[in-house]
């Protein structure tokens, strides 16, 4: 009976997943806002599927967690200016990115994805499938729907206090001192404090 089966069971399931709307989850911890927005926008618009067409709405849902830990390059937190303008009086506002992030922890991720989706008629429909959470807690129905995890756009940098003593001891030494090297020489001089001028008439106080 194997000669009659044109498509295997695995391919059949993949074909079903192709035409249905999957739910992906991605961790935004230490991810660049613009790169993350480009990747999420691809999945919201369905551009990762071979059946993609500009008029075919085949996008998937994307859940973004840890939005409060999103990252930006160098000084972009204060040099990225978001311009709000509705052409009404008193509606113009130029707000730096860090103030928006201070006010609402999910808005920077939303603005990045919204920008990456492009200016087209389907943008509002695609952005409806974006689900943003400031940390790892989410609604239960969202957690149940998730069926896939996206790879992060850049690596998460390990902090210094996250290394164990064994890893630190096994790490090779780059600096090699001489045999008679005095380690005390590199220690800092303790701060002697500010000089206080004695009150006239009282010498030792």
């Amino acid at each position: 009976m194997s000669y009659r089966r044109a498509v295997s069971r695995f391919d059949r399931v993949n074909q079903w997943l192709q035409f249905s709307r999957q739910w992906h989850v991605i961790d935004a911890n230490q991810q660049d806002a613009e790169l993350l927005g480009d990747k999420v926008a691809r999945y919201l618009a369905g551009k990762h599927k071979p059946i993609f067409h500009p008029e075919t709405d085949c996008g998937d849902h994307v859940v973004v967690t840890n939005c409060k830990d999103i990252a930006m390059h160098a000084f972009d937190w204060k040099h990225t200016i978001y311009k709000f303008n509705m052409e009404y009086p008193k509606s113009k506002a130029d707000i730096p990115a860090w103030q928006i992030h201070d006010y609402d922890q999910c808005r920077i991720a939303f603005l990045s994805v919204y920008r990456s989706l492009g200016n087209n008629l389907l943008r509002r429909r695609h952005i409806q499938r974006l689900h943003l959470f400031p940390d790892e807690e989410m609604a239960e129905f969202v957690r149940k729907n998730i069926g896939s995890q996206l790879r992060q756009v850049q690596g998460v940098v390990k902090r210094s206090d996250e290394y164990t003593a064994e890893e630190r001891a096994n790490f090779p030494r780059v600096v090699k001192f001489a045999d008679k090297h005095v380690v005390d020489w590199e220690k800092s001089i303790p701060n002697p404090g500010r000089h206080v001028k004695p009150v006239p008439g009282q010498k030792d106080k």
Partner: protein, 183 residues
């Protein structure tokens, strides 16, 4: 040889620190090539003897023909701000960077290492290891990354179109965003 005699152990630490500071200033001012002093303590019958012994360190000022630690490989090593275990070997216990005389690096690598240490501090990769007095106000407490060690000098302002769709979709009426809130 300088010999000091102390009868009480309470002020031994203070005088020891003072003697170390004085000897360091003396050796720095004299311009001696690598002469240092090491503290030696002896305790006899309740008396603490502290003496400063002159130690001739074999590493003096860095020679020009000496290879630096980061240039010895055939494969070019590019130090980044993520290599915190390498950067900490060039740092003192209070977070400052050792001079070139001690690290043995060439000038280019020394300057790059100093830039990477700055970037690691700005990204918060050292945590609270070197104290909590780092400036984390405003935008400095959010996550940042650096493409290379010269990113701190390449400054540009980016203009982004801010959309009101988020504000309409997720109403934030209870919080004041502008002076005259429109939502």
């Amino acid at each position: 040889m300088q010999m000091l005699r102390l009868y009480a152990s309470n002020c031994a630490g203070k005088i020891k620190a003072a003697v170390e500071t004085a000897s360091r200033l003396q050796s720095t001012a004299s311009g001696a090539a690598g002469h240092k002093f090491q503290t030696k303590e002896d305790k006899k019958e309740g008396t603490t003897y502290i003496s400063m012994e002159k130690v001739t360190d074999s590493r003096g000022a860095r020679k020009d023909d000496e290879l630096c630690s980061l240039c010895t490989c055939n494969v070019p090593i590019k130090l980044t701000y993520k290599d915190v275990l390498i950067l900490e070997q060039f740092m003192r216990d209070d977070g400052t960077v050792l001079p070139r005389q001690l690290t043995g690096l060439c000038k280019k690598q020394q300057l790059r290492m100093e830039r990477c240490v700055m970037q690691a501090f700005w990204s918060g990769l050292f945590g609270d290891k070197y104290g909590t007095e780092a400036d984390r106000a405003g935008y400095k407490r959010f996550n940042r990354y650096w493409k290379d060690d010269m990113s701190m000098y390449q400054l540009e302002t980016k203009q982004r179109h801010g959309t009101w769709f988020y504000i309409k979709r997720y109403p934030t009426k209870n919080q004041q965003l502008f002076k005259n809130p429109l939502n």
